[in-house]
Symmetry: C2
């Protein structure tokens, strides 16, 4: 599979000059990405394709081919695969649709295609996907123009659009990808293959899956658990309901199973299940740098009471425990809060300008032994204010003196938060309504966090769900460790 | 209450030169907003405050005062109110905290303050709020620098931060406010007053409430239902759980009731309950222009199968019915879709470039009589692509010819969608991963929709929840109409 993500040469069967066609768009994205290996467009009707000499057929290419990409009509794919097999091409990406998702003839054609490839030792991604992205190889033969930055999160998805949204949203929060693959119908390479590859891939530290059907259930969960023991695996499983299952069958030709059974199996295998694409992105990004909490006891610090009330509600709804703090801890907190502070968790700083703040409160909570982590609500609000005043501020070169002073203060504050994030062995999750804009707009204070791989949460609920996901992984690893110990003792 | 939102003159008791104090920040925002009435800063220790002549006391102001704003310490508030009463000031905003939320003495002081004000016919917002914003009066005496555009959505919130986030997010989606008020402890003016005022306010067409405690329950629901009969009312109610209720008591000194009972009462009164701040914003914005569906039957159109599967799941989870389409409708759809299309709802356009699209599919579904509305997934993706290529594109003046052509195509496409939105008497909800950026980044195609007051949904689930909220309001109005008819017949 290394040939898929790091090929020395690529043949593109169906490369087109027409930018209104898949073969035109994806070939353009391949060219634009900066890929440094050989590229061979194959198109019998053209002399050149997008500036490169075109080949009439794969057989006419004299050099070795590591990877073949197919965007030709489904009826023509088997013949092209045969040619590749003769040329000993080790890997292919079949983007073409019109196979098992149609049932009947389509399913038979898909089987035949896979049989041909396997007989020649060729592995296939797809069919019916939108391609792949391999940022370190500058290889982006897929539909979106998007070129993710090199990162540590691997994405495998049974929907091209979902893989695009995942990669886009990761980019919004400042995260790149190690590899992204639109797996389509999973006719040849399937979940166990991707999971095993990402498990071993040294560039990958977190795995995100969008799954419509697992195929061979036991094989899926075996590979998933093996991966989960080493790296966090976040899964979006759709086709959960009757209507969803019908849609999945017609989308990628897979059969969705019972949803509750699936959830229980995920928990056993250590998979973190996300309800939405957005949740999966946020959870995956959280796993990159955040330490795992030992449990679900949380301390909440808020600059405004309303956020605290909402957080307290959401914690209980989403399974976190907003613990009652001891008198000792309350006493320590009191020293840094205004006289009108109501002793409580969430710790509402009651907008006490000039009193202490997170600098004092975070260490008190972290060191109290009473919480497994801290959620800090509402950082970076200054950028929302500045942005409202003028959308033209260049944060890298502010001219206004007052602005400079405010930005400098915010910069130091966020440097402190960054240090705290890495200093404590417990999670410190921070929310900011500006989280989705920090990278795009270049807010200097928030970049102090984002550039070090810290996830900022756009909503209160996002931070709470992420804490839950981190705790769930902590639980799984602890459970496996205990099992190992007890087995060892037996 | 008109004096609060459209005063001819404002006295600011506690106006400060120190921009690190509430009295400095809020006074600055009042000055910066462009308010055209008289402004009188009151501060016995200063000659001038932020460039205006300061008065030692309210009594020293010779002109009439319509509105007094207080940021002085709580112990000094009663005396200042007395002065105002003597001067026949009709309205005040007490921003100062330290009253009922502390219990004991604080609660007694709050009662005394209200008694003093009422004895003089003066109404009070607060205490313990962050001020108000009245965009048409260019009046923004509140904590955030944010100055919402004039709009039709009124916001009343028992949390300053929540009102800020609501106004900010509305702005992100292209919506302004009619009025926003941080109601604090609701010591004098309370929910029935705000509801009745917004019900009558011709500038207000949608009402959003963030409520920690309703106070007098029957009075709240009576006023709420009266308002809901005329205008959509969206409510975020926190203090829902044990922990939330404790936090609410210490935040605004109110008592939260049983959550299930509250939900049932909301339904009866026609209030739309939102789970999160973000949901409330999206629902409120939806009510501005979207027609109400007659029921919960939905047709989904998607450019990618994965989105369709996820939507089908989410519809069932969130209470919409992805109906099976009749053979007749399927036949009509088929004429505009590629041969490999699997006949189904969601209608997956299977990325058939060059085939028909929403232009043909939307009217077929809308006119079929089989759905109460249509959800179209994934518009505006072109901007995500363009943004990825370069963050420097000036969409108003693109130089690149290819880009111009793409933008032009997208512009026409979105103009068509806008026309469809207003043409059909059923809701057409559209999702775009770029929805939150359309206004800030000025994407021309999406602005064709946003500038006409159409809400774009950032996620699939958001569009589905909004459809549910619209359907819920449709149900309520129908129920009330039926009741009225039957009462009439009796």
């Amino acid at each position: 599979m290394e040939k898929i993500f790091s090929p020395r040469s690529v043949a593109f069967v169906g490369a087109s000059n027409n930018l209104g066609k898949w073969g035109g768009i994806i070939f353009r994205n391949l060219l634009d990405g900066g890929y440094e290996g050989e590229i061979y467009p194959v198109n019998p009707k053209e002399e050149t394709v997008q500036g490169l000499k075109a080949f009439r057929a794969v057989a006419e290419i004299s050099g070795d081919i590591d990877l073949a990409i197919f965007t030709i009509p489904s009826a023509a794919v088997p013949a092209a695969i045969k040619e590749c097999v003769r040329k000993k091409v080790p890997a292919g990406i079949v983007i073409t649709a019109g196979f098992a998702e149609l049932g009947g003839d389509g399913a038979r054609e898909q089987e035949e295609m896979v049989r041909l490839a396997r007989s020649g030792g060729m592995v296939l991604v797809g069919p019916n996907g939108q391609g792949i992205s391999s940022p370190r190889a500058k290889l982006h033969p897929w539909m979106p123009v998007l070129k993710p930055e090199p990162g540590v999160i691997a994405v495998a998805s049974q929907s091209g659009n979902v893989s695009t949204v995942v990669a886009e949203e990761l980019a919004d929060f400042g995260f790149g990808c190690s590899k992204a693959v639109s797996a389509g119908n999973c006719a040849d390479l399937s979940w166990p293959d991707y999971l095993e590859y990402f498990r071993q891939d040294p560039e990958t530290r977190v795995i995100v899956l969008y799954v419509e059907g697992v195929g061979d259930g036991p094989a899926f969960f075996k590979a998933a658990k093996a991966a989960a023991l080493e790296k966090p695996v976040v899964i979006i499983k759709s086709g959960r309901t009757q209507a969803g299952a019908v849609a999945a069958a017609s989308h990628t030709g897979v059969l969705a199973g019972s949803d509750q059974v699936f959830s229980a199996a995920c928990r056993q295998a250590g998979l973190i299940r996300a309800e939405t694409i957005e949740d999966a992105v946020i959870m995956a990004a959280s796993f990159v740098k955040t330490p795992l909490p030992a449990g679900r006891k949380v301390g909440v610090i808020t600059g405004g009471g309303g956020f605290g009330v909402i957080a307290a509600d959401a914690c209980l709804r989403l399974g976190l425990d907003v613990v009652k703090l001891s008198d000792e801890t309350i006493g320590k907190l009191k020293a840094h809060l205004p006289p009108w502070w109501s002793p409580n968790n969430p710790v509402d700083m009651v907008a006490g300008i000039g009193y202490g703040g997170p600098r004092e409160l975070i260490p008190i909570l972290m060191d109290s032994g009473e919480v497994d982590g801290v959620i800090l609500l509402g950082i970076g609000w200054i950028y929302s204010m500045l942005d409202s005043v003028t959308s033209k501020i260049d944060f890298r070169n502010p001219e206004d003196k007052t602005l400079l002073a405010r930005l400098d203060h915010d910069l130091k504050y966020n440097e402190m938060l960054r240090d705290y994030f890495f200093q404590f062995k417990k999670p410190l999750l921070m929310t900011s309504t500006m989280a989705r804009l920090a990278v795009r707009r270049g807010y200097p204070g928030l970049l102090k966090l984002v550039n070090d791989g810290i996830m900022l949460y756009p909503t209160i609920e996002d931070s709470i769900r992420a804490f839950g996901a981190l705790a769930e992984r902590g639980r799984f690893l602890q459970q496996e460790k205990n099992l190992q110990c007890s087995t060892h003792e037996d």
